[in-house]
Point group: D2
Chain length 421, copies 4
Amino acid sequence: MFSEQIELHGHIIDSLILPKVLDEILSHGGEFRILEIRIGQQRTDPSYARVEVSGPSPVVVDDLVRRLRLHGAEVMREVEVQLALAPADGVFPDNFYVTTNQQTFVRIEDQWIEARPAIMDSGIAVDSKSRTATALKFDEVRKGMQMVVGHHGIRVVPHQRAISKPGVFEFMASSVSSEKPKSAVIREIAAEFRQAKRAGGKILVVGGPAIVHTGAGEHLEKLMEWGFVDLLFAGNALAAHDIEHALFGTSLGVDLLEGALAHEGHENHMRAINAIRGAGGIAAAVAKGILRRGVMYRCVRQKIEFLLAGSIRDDGPLPEVIPDALSAQRLMRSKIGGVTLALMMGTMLHSIAAGNMLPASVKTICVDINPSVVTKLADRGTFQAIGLVTDLEPFLRELTDFLAGPVKEVEAHATAAALPA
Amino acid sequence: MFSEQIELHGHIIDSLILPKVLDEILSHGGEFRILEIRIGQQRTDPSYARVEVSGPSPVVVDDLVRRLRLHGAEVMREVEVQLALAPADGVFPDNFYVTTNQQTFVRIEDQWIEARPAIMDSGIAVDSKSRTATALKFDEVRKGMQMVVGHHGIRVVPHQRAISKPGVFEFMASSVSSEKPKSAVIREIAAEFRQAKRAGGKILVVGGPAIVHTGAGEHLEKLMEWGFVDLLFAGNALAAHDIEHALFGTSLGVDLLEGALAHEGHENHMRAINAIRGAGGIAAAVAKGILRRGVMYRCVRQKIEFLLAGSIRDDGPLPEVIPDALSAQRLMRSKIGGVTLALMMGTMLHSIAAGNMLPASVKTICVDINPSVVTKLADRGTFQAIGLVTDLEPFLRELTDFLAGPVKEVEAHATAAALPA
Amino acid sequence: MFSEQIELHGHIIDSLILPKVLDEILSHGGEFRILEIRIGQQRTDPSYARVEVSGPSPVVVDDLVRRLRLHGAEVMREVEVQLALAPADGVFPDNFYVTTNQQTFVRIEDQWIEARPAIMDSGIAVDSKSRTATALKFDEVRKGMQMVVGHHGIRVVPHQRAISKPGVFEFMASSVSSEKPKSAVIREIAAEFRQAKRAGGKILVVGGPAIVHTGAGEHLEKLMEWGFVDLLFAGNALAAHDIEHALFGTSLGVDLLEGALAHEGHENHMRAINAIRGAGGIAAAVAKGILRRGVMYRCVRQKIEFLLAGSIRDDGPLPEVIPDALSAQRLMRSKIGGVTLALMMGTMLHSIAAGNMLPASVKTICVDINPSVVTKLADRGTFQAIGLVTDLEPFLRELTDFLAGPVKEVEAHATAAALPA
Amino acid sequence: MFSEQIELHGHIIDSLILPKVLDEILSHGGEFRILEIRIGQQRTDPSYARVEVSGPSPVVVDDLVRRLRLHGAEVMREVEVQLALAPADGVFPDNFYVTTNQQTFVRIEDQWIEARPAIMDSGIAVDSKSRTATALKFDEVRKGMQMVVGHHGIRVVPHQRAISKPGVFEFMASSVSSEKPKSAVIREIAAEFRQAKRAGGKILVVGGPAIVHTGAGEHLEKLMEWGFVDLLFAGNALAAHDIEHALFGTSLGVDLLEGALAHEGHENHMRAINAIRGAGGIAAAVAKGILRRGVMYRCVRQKIEFLLAGSIRDDGPLPEVIPDALSAQRLMRSKIGGVTLALMMGTMLHSIAAGNMLPASVKTICVDINPSVVTKLADRGTFQAIGLVTDLEPFLRELTDFLAGPVKEVEAHATAAALPA
């Protein structure tokens, strides 16, 4: 048998970390012996455990150590992180360390250096001189960069359970149901919106065209007016439907006032795109007085940053759309800093893309009428995600109603939720 | 080749009846020759067609005639309906005629007699003396009754296209989508509710426990208060959840004000049922002041007829629940007369059961967040069905908002919709 | 502050029981202090913890103790169970103890007596003379019975994690996804079928009409032929569709060989029911040579017990159907003893009804193409449930292929899965 | 009242065209008078109708004429198509004619010229010298091109009902159900595959990563080996998952043999992408012996054209992926000529993108386990589309089983289906 000793610190019992670690060991062919355990007597005291992990081969033990690191385990003897050179532009060295979206440190010359940003599915480049560690995507790698390989000298800080009474994000996590009452949850979300603004965080909205189809555009505009949207990620479709609605009152030919009673058709959709192309873009169309209402109009008027990423199913596209996926990804990553709350509605493509870039600490709310979309988004390793299976229009209507309501009540509630009973 | 001649009358072209008939003939191994056709010059003029149907065997032609009858085709030479004796209680004779939910006539002694009620999947018993024809379910058949067999001497009146500008039921039919704006449709539904009451029709609500889970109970109570519910079909679950909510504020242990934040559990559910059993029933619990609010309370107080049908998944059940399916079906059939509008929400079992009993002329609205439920209900041969894929709570909230609004506007809209442009 | 001391025994750390207990305390307004903890050094050693639970009022502490019992916590000073008399037939006393589907003991005269059967949502009647405790449904209660009330003197044995390498039921639990490869899981299910038979357990199949619609009936027949079905729970619909298929080759008028190409219709459905009613029942129809193939034929021929429970949406029904829900429930409960494996396919109504009766120890497999059905079934407090989102026909085809394959390979695999690596 | 006369030719009654035209007129505020009608006496004879369309304003009549053109109606006095200059690169003139995916002719100097290709949501550029009409996308427009505007001088040839017994595509159209037996339909699809190859058509497969997740990759490889795939449209995800599986045996970390029992993780996914980037691409990796199996390997080895379009949710991407959406669209359009059969599996993004490019005459099969995806794809104006709600793995397994079976039987069936009974 081969073995290593690991240490666990913090709220390892009530955060379920110790049990998960023991579970991982057993599930992947290992054995454990608890060498030492100190459990906090009160709920604010941290705990400590030292565990011997053993297995039939060094490969098994190595694999186990790699898995346990995801839960914050540290190997007892602290070794330096291992590095290797990137063999070519855009290519990581073999056995490169693949990041999670959690806070991560690497051991360089007896120091723990934080790798930034906390973004999943990246490699880590180390600059020994400046003692910095940077998470890089494939296209950011340059030949000869020093990249982290293997699993030694790396420490991942798992998201720990809040000690105080947990909020809506901890309770709702992965709780996706269409049958629950939503008013209470939406009221909590309203409180989170206020809190995010008070704390100076940025709010990201990721949206699909169903926002316009379902008639929810006017509610999103209100959120924008009231300062609750700092950044909008969407595709050509949301913008084109919104502009079609602004110019013709329809969305894919459906009259939003007359509803399903009107005739369907793509004509207005195409004419709307053509009008904006003729004007030279959305901002230009606003400046020229062609575009006078709607979500995109509001973005331009209130100087809310928006980023429209292209896709192969786009008609047009509108001039502001970025058709190159790599450029769009780079821009999205550059804008995402400072976001603390993300609301994703009615788009799987853009929501997954944004989710892939957000650190685990960002609170994320996914809303879709299709439960499989919500399940998929809520499952992507996000530690603080709420999934709501519901219609976008009534969801946004109720959210804006709560935000329009008396501040005090909402805040009082938010405070109550944050305090121990 | 064997052949028969059929006749078609009415708005057979703009009701799509002629093309469907020709389609049926070709699709089932037959050939046709149009012998005579007279098409109305104006949209109010009826049309007429005489068609020769031929096929390789008498069986094929007979089968074709049977199918064409469903579209209102009449065989040229009018023969008497064929009758045979029911061989035993609860058993139809071989080859018995299976009814649809459309208006149906049988030819007895050179007269067309209407079979009543217009209910699907029944046999027709003929009383020659009184010249009546009655649609009977299996358990209503008695040995020796004269039952209709074969397909001669029977005329089905298909639902024809309204000549004036069609309403929401004709346009929406089978249009099930979660992505459409619903406000316009819900406004139309509100107009239908008002119109049904003005015309003296009865309104049936069929509901599942999700009405309570989603927090929509209070809206349903308003509908009841305002006289928009004449009859409620439900199961033990709706009543038990409603009463749990009335007594404890929870639904299956979920606090409806605190939402998903509360603890789940069956205890309150069981205690609520026990309390009503102890009181001797729902009505008794209202009389004794034990039950003081909720949907069931409102039914008792306002003398709205309700029928709770049992199922094998019931806890309890509550004393008013009818555990025997055949008794429940008989009672449901006896109460359904006069219903002109049916609203089905959040229950497939009870909705299909009610749908099986309603004549094709009843306007039906199916609401569920699961699109497959809506599709299934909207497909069951109902000619005037709307399916809405949405959350029950915001649906009922918006419906009651429209009904609470100024009558004039809604009515004006309804009138506009009913008039040709 | 008010407090009580609780004890936890067993694999409380790697079964996640201790963390869940601490979580419950914090989440419901309590505080904890760990007074003593002994953790097994090896994975086979049991652990022990003594925890002081405190809260702002006796009500809060009482509520906490009730919740913690569900996790197997015992209150330190062992008191007798509290009893009260049932006030009337069919009515429990106030504050009666509501059972779970886990093994439960009550303390009577300083002894722990097991309450049987382990069935959820029941009360417990105690017979002090015979020292027995019986879980009873509402309709089994008689006035004057001694019933357990409150939460003292009750011990629930939670399902503990298997110490050896866990099998498919522990890993898959609540893992509902339509995107995973299913072959490996179906191979494991085949191994469970063999193992259940070898161990002498009974296998229950709960099925809906989609088994016949999707053309999977022949595979279910094979399972029956090979002795893998001991008990079939279904409704009128499965039997009627199966018999329609046996007599006419169609299911609701759809020709199962020609598939969606054939005409839809209810006629054959009604005639099939009529034929069986005329014969005097399914068994009689088999005896008379009228019914010669299909699932129900196979049940009769191989003397497999079947129970058809009625519902309000039934046509007919067939003579063997039990229309009274309470009688059907009683019969289901009487037959369910000895079942160790349950396969539920294509019916939410019957699956929930059966699930409500099964003890937590029964391994349950839910298969449906609708993910919301699978989620709902897998969530109902079953500790060993697998949910598969897939088509019934290919699922049963592959399952029978594995069962028809060489026994050795399948068994070898099952053994491998059951042994530590 | 204002009016125009329109003519309808062909199988206007049994193709439902006449009734639809009358329906459109009434539904959009118009009136009609049938001036002349000649109906074929036999099913092979074409029919003819001349109809006067009138309305309260020229705008209404104009709108009606535009709608009726979609059904093949021609305005009596044939006028020239109207043209206007494109005002700028990438911008259509105001009121440009928006194409459908049906065969379309424009009237130039008293001649009907076909606009090519038949692609939806484009404008039509006319070159009077060469007498050609070309459907162009936004980015293909150059300043000063002559573009078709308005609705005069345009003739759309609607897809007409086959006169012989219709095949699976006509019957199944828009019939999306998870409850139907699929074997018969899959057998018909196999026959369509053989027929497409015999007729020299190209077969397009559009696929998502679920093909690999569900373990269906090996079946797709067989289709490729047997020559049933001429063109593959996919994204980075399908290729990356396939290559991960080829190199490591996993898909997103899930072991496809051990199924859901294995650990999830992104590491293998990232390493697979890195390995191919290091090798210089998929083709290079095959040449170097790094990639030795799987769908992409098979494409390279058998010289099957594949096109991987990028998206913002991509990891990597693989070197062959085209990250620019406009370039990818142009390439897709350039390769799509000659395709007569398209099989779309497990991807909404790529399927809609491909569907937007295909003429109405291409037979399309959409397979997904999510009914809403299938409904959305089957609704997109495709006249010959089959939607199947089922698992990809059993679907492809059964399809390859049929294609591997005796040719004669399958062909005999296909022939039978194509002949009148």
